[in-house]
Symmetry: none
Subunit: 224 residues, 4 copies
Amino acid sequence: MDATSSETDPPKAVPPKRPTGPRDPVRTRAAILEAATHEFRAKGLTGARVDTIAKRSGVNKRMIYHYFGGKEGLYVAVLEATYSAIRHAEGDLHLGDREPLDAICELVRFTWRYFIDHPEFLSLLGTENLHRARFLKQSSRIRDLHSPLVATLSHQLARGAEKGVIRPGIDPVQLYISIASLGFFYLSNRYTLATIFGRSMDDPASLEARGRHIEDVVLAYLRP
Amino acid sequence: MDATSSETDPPKAVPPKRPTGPRDPVRTRAAILEAATHEFRAKGLTGARVDTIAKRSGVNKRMIYHYFGGKEGLYVAVLEATYSAIRHAEGDLHLGDREPLDAICELVRFTWRYFIDHPEFLSLLGTENLHRARFLKQSSRIRDLHSPLVATLSHQLARGAEKGVIRPGIDPVQLYISIASLGFFYLSNRYTLATIFGRSMDDPASLEARGRHIEDVVLAYLRP
Amino acid sequence: MDATSSETDPPKAVPPKRPTGPRDPVRTRAAILEAATHEFRAKGLTGARVDTIAKRSGVNKRMIYHYFGGKEGLYVAVLEATYSAIRHAEGDLHLGDREPLDAICELVRFTWRYFIDHPEFLSLLGTENLHRARFLKQSSRIRDLHSPLVATLSHQLARGAEKGVIRPGIDPVQLYISIASLGFFYLSNRYTLATIFGRSMDDPASLEARGRHIEDVVLAYLRP
Amino acid sequence: MDATSSETDPPKAVPPKRPTGPRDPVRTRAAILEAATHEFRAKGLTGARVDTIAKRSGVNKRMIYHYFGGKEGLYVAVLEATYSAIRHAEGDLHLGDREPLDAICELVRFTWRYFIDHPEFLSLLGTENLHRARFLKQSSRIRDLHSPLVATLSHQLARGAEKGVIRPGIDPVQLYISIASLGFFYLSNRYTLATIFGRSMDDPASLEARGRHIEDVVLAYLRP
DNA sequence: TATGAATGAGGGTTCATTCAT
DNA sequence: CATGAATGAACCCTCATTCAT
């Protein structure tokens, strides 16, 4: 999935028959999840259609109720999988093992790159916030997923301050929110921004420029 | 309207009869627009119900079609009114008449305050971006609304650089997007953020802290 | 009005403002009647829209209720005017003053020509028969309008039989119905006929050929 | 179904529950089609109500969309079935195996009888022509359905001319249209005809008389 | 006489979900 | 486990008509 692909339905022409044989629970579940992610991302919770998800995943509509209980259950599952994915990818960076400034820089670059590569993450968060996180709150595992991130950031900020390379007193949560903000808003609002400013936000050069700008802003802020 | 009010429908118990006498086109139109803003903000385009808008505005459902042509026409009208409102409030700041650093600081504070006070702006932009600005593109007056902002920022950045109080080479559009980002993302995603970080984002102290943080970040970036 | 003009609405672009000054009851009534004839002809009773009639006639919708009481009253008025028109045109032929065979031939040619030139007559009769003449029965003047026609035909058939130029015993009503049939069915069903036979029924050559055929059939039948 | 039954809805009191068990797609489809034929015949396309069709057929309204896509799709299906029925009944006459004059006489009698027995055929054609065959044109199989009729007529006219029992040079399509005309117009317009001529067209004696008249007209025309 | 706002009933259609096989 | 028919509640929208000016 990439940031510039068209998301409208009719031209999509997804293969309606998946090559899995019958009675393969794991693949059925995965196929539904994949199709649902796409649909919820493109239309939101209310706009998404159970029929469309069934058709796209090539499974019978009844299976959605079998595996996920219903549209909302499926939506929650998509949400969990989406958050889980980014946090695991983040974990793979092993930010705790690097030098403080380097670690934060890496997090900035990773975050920006991840947002570009996973537009469903942006859309789903937007949708979930429209609903005031009503569904995310139902998920028990979500909060645990985020403590390592805060812990690592906190640790590196403290070490950086000690070493004199980072200004002291920075709140790790504020910092993370700002790192996310600078990329998230640009990408998730790129359609209205392009319209009001009359300038493409999607082409590689613009994305590259924005990436550099974000690094500049964060580094300026960290500077002691 | 404020950022913390409950938005669910049933408990809302809005006065079903508006106090306007009949045959008042101006008030009818305004009442529809107000109710629609609320409904689109709370539910998005797909989730919004025409019936609910009619009920809340106290007018006959048919009038929505009379004045706005339909649900989408009404949505476009809401979008235009919403953008128009922020740009006019911005214009009232007369940023061009101030000192460069002061002007930008004022813009930062204004933007943050405006986002807090107008949650419908955040939601509607999220909704519109879910639809890839399909409706905003239909509005002809939108782009003209934004050129003064860019012009003013550009002018003040140049003056600031000349005077040696602002680092040279800053792109005004990138800067504005960053200013908006730091507040927009925090507020529009406050529900998921509160959930994943297990910390309120909505109380006055948190809002105050975030406001100061944003100023810090922007000022650090502007510093030569 | 002619047999081949397109009748769909959107491209029609009728002048929405008629050049009459205000307060001209006669013209207002006539404008409504003209627009209604067009609309009922093109859409039938159920398909016709009061709004469309008002717009096309350039008068306020309320006037339709003022002058005709409502949609059905207007429809009855259109029906009466339509029948009245053909019978008056028929009367102008003065068929009673001609030789028997000549009179009947003239009636055949007139009927065919009138049907071609007045497609609204065909459509309105079709619509009225769908409703089992429910509205025509409300009109008191309709029946009197038709006795002269039957009387004249009867008279000429008798004279022709006496003179030996027309076979005796022909029922004038059966004959008239047949004369009307041969043209009416061809023209009112020309769209389905063209489709099932894969051959145009509307071009001048086809109309000419059908006219000759009808004359042949009637004359063969009259032959003693 | 016969020509004289009342078609208005309220007194009809159709059994609202059909005796078919659930889960019988074939019967469900057929029940919808039967109810739709009745409704479109009585009210035309615009006047027909999807709710009424659902109620009469005893199936859930949703099924109409499941099987036919919508009101128009259902109408097209009704149209196809109606045309298909008359052409198949016609085919069963095996007109090609008879003597020329006899074959044509049989066609005349069959057509008249079929029109009397299938008033829905008349009404649906009227409705379809009001819409200028817009829907019939969508049907691919319609034209093929009619070539055998023209071929047979053509063949018999040629043979009759050879044998000297039919006048040469008769166009088979014109002849067929005339045969249909003489019965179709009488029956489909019987309500207005009865009103303007003040004479019943529906009683058995009148139908019998009209049948004989039609034969007379056609035979007179065929006579060499 | 003329106008355009206002109305309530009902139009076709779509939806998430469940049932029978 | 899997299927497609079946359901009833809404949803957006349209209509003929009336009201207030």
